[in-house]
């Protein structure tokens, strides 16, 4: 595929996502067509931890890791900020604002803006910890371990960009009997999170998180758009695999791809309508 085709397809992909986002938001705003999100146990623990933090007058610890604005994990930092905004807002009934930590300098203003915008409770003393380590984050893990000892947070929500050093933080939290939810956009960190955290999110579930912790229809709509793209991707990968096995891949063309996408969208719309009628 040449550069021009790639650029045209990229623009079309972005435009298609914009159209999908607005369509999903429109449908989600109508009560009759509102779609329920699949249950995830990780999100059911967050209100409990928040209540415990308020009752015990201890902070929640919200960690960005090395997710930063302006680098390849900017989207992770923005998704984290959205998730943390809702958690801070719901935690505002208490007197102790959450402790936020990051190892990226550009995330510090984002984190402090989150506390500033979302915290409506008393005692909003800025509690943002910056451990200037960047992606070589063992020093960050050591620093956060010190926070665990000093601030004794009620629970840790470690959602961002972490490597294997996440193990040090999770182990320290476990020894202090503090709850943990972890997810990382790095594969090493994701594996450690799965093995050692109390609750774990995997991959894109981080980006769907705001839909689970807020009542905003637009967040749920964004999660649905991700589901639609993922379903289309799975269909395309399966199709490519079948064509490859059957030796028909040379016949593959972008016109054929467009037809398949349209057919998949129509089928999806039909199945969705049937499901909605059944739910009613």
């Amino acid at each position: 595929m040449d550069v021009t085709t790639q650029q045209v397809l990229s623009i079309l992909f972005v435009l298609a996502t914009v159209v999908l986002v607005y369509t999903a938001r429109f449908l989600q705003s109508r009560a009759a067509s509102r779609r329920r999100l699949r249950p995830m146990s990780a999100f059911e623990r967050i209100p409990n931890w928040s209540s415990q933090a308020i009752e015990a007058d201890r902070p929640l610890h919200l960690a960005f890791g090395s997710a930063s604005i302006g680098e390849d994990n900017t989207a992770t930092a923005l998704a984290n900020a959205e998730l943390f905004h809702h958690i801070i807002e719901k935690n505002s009934a208490g007197d102790t604002p959450p402790a936020l930590s990051t190892s990226a300098p550009t995330t510090v203003p984002l984190a402090s803006a989150k506390v500033d915008a979302a915290w409506t409770g008393a005692g909003a003393e800025l509690n943002v910890h910056w451990y200037p380590q960047g992606k070589r984050a063992l020093g960050y893990a050591a620093g956060v371990t010190a926070v665990i000892g000093d601030d004794t947070p009620s629970a840790h929500i470690l959602a961002g960009s972490f490597g294997a050093e996440l193990g040090l933080i999770l182990d320290s939290a476990r020894r202090n009997r503090q709850g943990t939810l972890a997810v990382s956009d790095q594969l090493e960190g994701q594996a450690v999170a799965y093995a050692m955290a109390d609750e774990v999110l995997i991959g894109e579930e981080l980006f769907a998180a705001p839909a689970y912790v807020s009542d905003e229809g637009r967040a749920a709509a964004d999660a649905i758009v991700m589901d639609v793209w993922r379903a289309l991707l799975m269909i395309l990968v399966t199709l490519a695999l079948v064509l490859g096995v059957a030796g028909q891949l040379p016949w593959f063309s972008w016109q054929l791809l467009a037809v398949v996408v349209v057919v998949a969208l129509v089928l999806g719309a039909i199945l969705w309508t049937i499901q909605r009628r059944r739910d009613q």
Partner: protein, 216 residues
Amino acid sequence: MNRRPRVGISMAAMTGFLVGVTAILSLLLGDNPALFGGGAQADALAQDFALPGDVLLRLLVIVLALSIVFGIANLLIVHTRRVAHGRLMSGVLLASFAGAIGWHITRRGDTSLLETIQLPIESALAALLCITLVAGGARILARRSDIWGLLFVLVVVVVLLGSLPLPELAPIAAFSDWLMRIPVQAGARAILLGIALGSIVVGVRALLGQDRSVRG
């Protein structure tokens, strides 16, 4: 808490939208005259499209550099205040900072401070991390007593056994290689694709000026 006035939010959202659309169009359309039909006029048009993207990227680099400077300045102010309250460790941090700056100025290019202090400390932490991960892996069955937890432990055991240099374990090594090449690669790619899709949706939200960081 202070909430931004509605006009400010609208302005921020509008600015975010304009900058986002300009950047994406400039990055996607710039520097490719073929998109405009080729020829001298198309070259000039492509360069014109690329210009705003370049300017915005340079601005981003400057902002990133400034954020580090501000971050360090803030760190120094906070720890200076703490020293005034008798916090010894903040004094150690300030002394280390001054020492490192002094070392860099007087012995330009000499990285022995990094090699003799920073690297051994990080190596010690890495060794500790190794033990922590083994202990965490061993506890997984207590934490997740389901089929996936069992599968996780089995794969770890197979990969560890496969990495042993024993000829008797050659079949396990071959199986471990296959495991890493096919199922693990497929799983890793699936996770990365999911993250990429999530990033695109978040990117579009930011592009439309509807992200919380813009809306307040």
